[in-house]
């Protein structure tokens, strides 16, 4: 006979060999609760305080956040206030970026709750305080691709990630939008939060719409989520737009945009199947508009558009001019809604977007990127982080990632902003090395990196006004004069990391 009873001795023998217990049916009791009810009893859903306690967070550890709600973010201030209330000290805060709305962090830094920052950017009062020497330890600045890779490689180890989501089910399947009738917010892509969710020791989702299981088109998987916290609001969606979405009427922006579009169209890369990325500033947005006309006129279609996706890009995609949208960050509500509704509009992580050492990153397959700059120097180096007054006022974003990986990087930058020269002898802070910058478009002419003689030749053949970048710097100086040197102190308040993990530059404190 070979019944299970007859095999009992052998089961026991094997279990012993495998150092396992023998299955005991009498301990198993089926739960008769209707499953719809059961999912809401899921023990993953807890309060913020419980989640923090259960995560095992301790003083000195690293917490992380994303900034997909940009100016509307409520998660960082809410969580750090709770951590302060619970008495935590000496935490390292690693956000994908920090902006004006995160001003309350100043108090938490002064009180010792937060003692170090890792971020892509810093703006507003917090940035000003940091520039004046608020913190003992310098802020570590990384590009988006660089941050993703640093998290993956363990260089930036995250103990607990606090990630806001516009919808999440009780198991932790989370998205940057919600299809439920209770939807309160929308931010679209959760690209910058994905490395955190995947590689942090503990991941806590904060959501303002706890939806029924299973939450579909989830960016973050329940497999990576330990706790789900329901809050009143994770962010104000009306503030995710990075500025005016309507067409710019600023004649200088229009002039710059038209020139930049002409550069792209005559660069040799404007062919069927090319791929492109543009920034979200007035001039960059307008470039999309003029490129669109060029694509229609010449019958050219792009295979994909990448990056921060705007409503302008969505429009081109819907018109059939762009095959796919690859979205690490949705720059406005139209883009966020498109991500929710359009299967050809894809959400990617920061690593899939722009990590230098990951061969599959989308930036490696990018033909043309149009970027802005605070300053460009005569060696084509670009600064997008520190203002000409020495105060931190920007973000690295994907600037160095896309400039380096693309076949053609075009910087759109006015020669002058009021009385501030933007083409200078040396940038205040080195963010994107000039070796990765191919063309600089100003209202006084277009400069081409000497490394790219073939581009210069093509643009000259197209009748564009090509000038030497030294002449642009001289022109700016002739109009404005030499600015007084900045009153830098000797303390290092910021460190700029290169994409390859090396230290590229430091930012010193500003005095007075």
């Amino acid at each position: 006979m070979n019944s299970i009873k007859d095999r009992a001795a052998q089961i026991a023998e094997v279990a012993k060999q495998m150092n396992k217990a023998v299955y005991n049916d009498s301990t198993v009791k089926k739960d008769p609760t209707p499953r719809f009810e059961l999912q809401h009893k899921c023990n993953k859903v807890v309060t913020l305080e419980e989640a923090i306690k259960k995560s095992g967070l301790k003083d000195g550890m690293t917490i992380s956040f994303h900034h997909h709600f940009r100016g509307g973010d409520k998660v960082i201030n809410m969580v750090v206030a709770k951590l302060a209330e619970m008495g935590f000290k000496n935490l390292t805060l690693a956000s994908s970026s920090l902006i004006d709305v995160h001003e309350p962090l100043i108090e938490h830094i002064k009180n010792g709750v937060i003692t170090q920052l890792h971020t892509s950017g810093l703006r507003g009062a917090l940035a000003t305080e940091v520039s004046h020497g608020l913190m003992e330890k310098p802020v570590i600045f990384r590009s988006h691709g660089s941050r993703g890779y640093a998290i993956k490689s363990g260089e930036l180890h995250i103990d607990v990630a606090f990630l806001g989501a516009s919808s999440c089910d009780p198991m932790g399947n989370a998205a940057g939008f919600s299809t439920s009738e209770n939807a309160k917010s929308i931010c679209g892509s959760l690209g910058y939060a994905l490395p955190d969710a995947k590689y942090a020791d503990h991941t806590i989702i904060l959501t303002d719409d706890l939806v029924n299981y299973p939450n579909q088109h989830n960016a973050i998987s329940e497999a990576d989520v330990e706790f789900v916290v329901v809050v009143d609001s994770v962010g104000d969606s009306s503030k995710i737009s990075s500025g005016a979405i309507r067409d710019t009427k600023n004649p200088r922006d229009i002039l710059l945009a038209k020139q930049a579009a002409k550069v792209v169209m005559n660069s040799g890369y404007f062919e069927n199947g090319f791929s492109m990325q543009t920034g979200s500033g007035g001039a960059s947005l307008a470039v999309t508009k003029y490129l669109r006309q060029g694509m229609i006129d010449k019958g050219i279609k792009a295979s994909f558009a990448l990056g921060g996706i705007t409503s302008h890009m969505v429009k081109l995609h819907q018109e059939g001019l762009i095959g796919r949208l690859i979205d690490v960050q949705s720059f406005d509500k139209v883009a966020a809604e498109s991500l929710m509704n359009d299967p050809l509009h894809k959400c990617v992580s920061a690593n899939e977007y722009a990590a230098m050492l990951e061969p599959g990153s989308a930036t490696h397959f990018l033909d043309v990127v149009i970027l802005s700059a605070l300053e460009v120097d005569v060696n084509f180096n670009v600064n997008v982080l520190v203002g000409s007054d020495g105060i931190i006022r920007g973000a690295i974003g994907g600037h160095p990632d896309t400039a380096q990986d693309s076949a053609l990087s075009v910087i759109v930058c006015p020669l002058l902003r009021g009385r501030i020269p933007c083409v200078v002898d040396e940038v205040t802070t080195l963010i994107t090395p000039g070796s990765n910058v191919d063309v600089v478009v100003t209202e006084y002419g277009i400069a081409v990196n000497p490394n790219r003689p073939e581009i210069k030749e093509r643009l000259e053949a197209a009748g564009l006004n090509i000038v030497d970048i030294h002449d642009l710097a001289a022109k700016a100086r002739s109009i404005i004069g030499d600015p007084a040197p900045l009153p830098f102190g000797d303390k290092v308040v910021g460190v700029v990391m290169n994409r390859d993990g090396s230290v590229q530059d430091v930012i010193k404190n500003i005095v007075g």
Binding site: K249, P251, I254, L255, E443, Y444, G463, I479
Partner: protein, 301 residues
């Protein structure tokens, strides 16, 4: 090559930001304004600013014009002195009604130029902004050798005419200015100087702007006064000669070159006689084509 005046862009003389880079948009002429866009309280400051802008900013090949306050005001003569000293190309006199006013301005200019030792450097253009001015257009246009053009100022003209400005949706669009426009363009042509049309101030109605530019081009104007860089592209596009016109002009110029070689004055192209006015028009077409970027000087060879 004769100077093109397709676009004359108005820039307030009290706005340093706009004055600093007005030329980057490529208007043929820039008119820095000391008159209507500057309040009484700012007249002196604006005059100083315009003087320094003309002296320090490199406007390249752009023709620099300054609209001064009328000589009858306390500011007019000071304006003349400041801008002539700064080397302005053209002084635009507002609200010109008679030839005598042009002569008076010329005397003021001569005073300053004599002091500087550069008599004859400064040109004059007159804005015609009244019915009397329109009827005196030829006298004004020929009042001085320095006259380079006359222009219409429509708002004051209409007030004086007791007519309303029509808008693009009216079946009578532009009717109120018909007479003044024809007086100006005819007088300018008779005097051998340029004719410029009035501004179009509704920047949100680019379609009507386009229609108006097409109309004034058809009437014979050399160009239009503009108030925003966005208007430049439209004007240049409309004034750009068409391919057929360019081909014809090239043929005529080539034929005349050939005739000159042979020492013959009169020529025929495709069986039609070509005389001086035809040649002048052909040359102007080529100038416009080069300025519009449609062809280069090398294409002529």
């Amino acid at each position: 090559m004769q100077r093109l005046r397709r676009t004359m862009m108005f820039v307030p003389g009290n706005n340093p930001g706009m004055m600093a880079d007005a030329h980057i948009y490529g208007p043929d002429s820039i008119m820095l304004d000391l008159e209507d866009s500057v309040t009484m309280a700012e007249k002196d400051a604006a005059r100083l600013l315009v003087h320094n802008a003309l002296k320090t900013i490199d406007y390249g090949n752009t023709e620099m014009v300054v609209r001064i306050n009328p000589l009858s005001t306390p500011y007019g003569k000071k304006d003349v002195e400041a801008v002539v000293k700064a080397g302005v190309h053209v002084i635009r006199m507002p609200k010109t009604e008679t030839a005598e006013e042009v002569v008076e301005l010329e005397q003021e200019i001569i005073k300053v130029e004599t002091e500087l030792g550069c008599v004859g450097r400064t040109q004059i253009m007159a804005a015609i902004e009244s019915t009397l001015g329109a009827l005196n257009a030829y006298a004004i246009a020929t009042a001085s050798k320095r006259m380079m053009g006359i222009a219409l100022g429509a708002e004051d003209y209409c007030a004086n005419l007791k007519a309303q400005r029509t808008t693009g949706d009216s079946p009578f669009f532009g009717m109120e200015l018909q007479m003044a426009r024809q007086c100006i363009v005819t007088a300018a042509r008779a005097a051998g100087i340029d004719a410029l049309d009035t501004v179009f101030s509704n920047l949100n109605d680019m379609d009507t702007f386009r229609r108006e530019v097409e109309m004034i081009k058809a009437m014979g104007f050399d160009g239009k006064s503009i108030i925003n860089p966005r208007q430049i592209e439209v004007v240049n596009e409309i004034f750009a000669p068409k391919e057929k016109e360019i081909e014809k002009a090239k043929t005529i110029l080539a034929a005349i070159k050939e005739a000159e070689k042979r020492g013959s004055g009169v020529i025929a192209v495709n069986g039609k006689m070509v005389d001086r006015p035809v040649v002048i028009r052909a040359q102007r077409t080529i100038d416009l084509a080069i300025a519009s970027g449609i062809m280069t000087k090398e294409d002529l060879a």
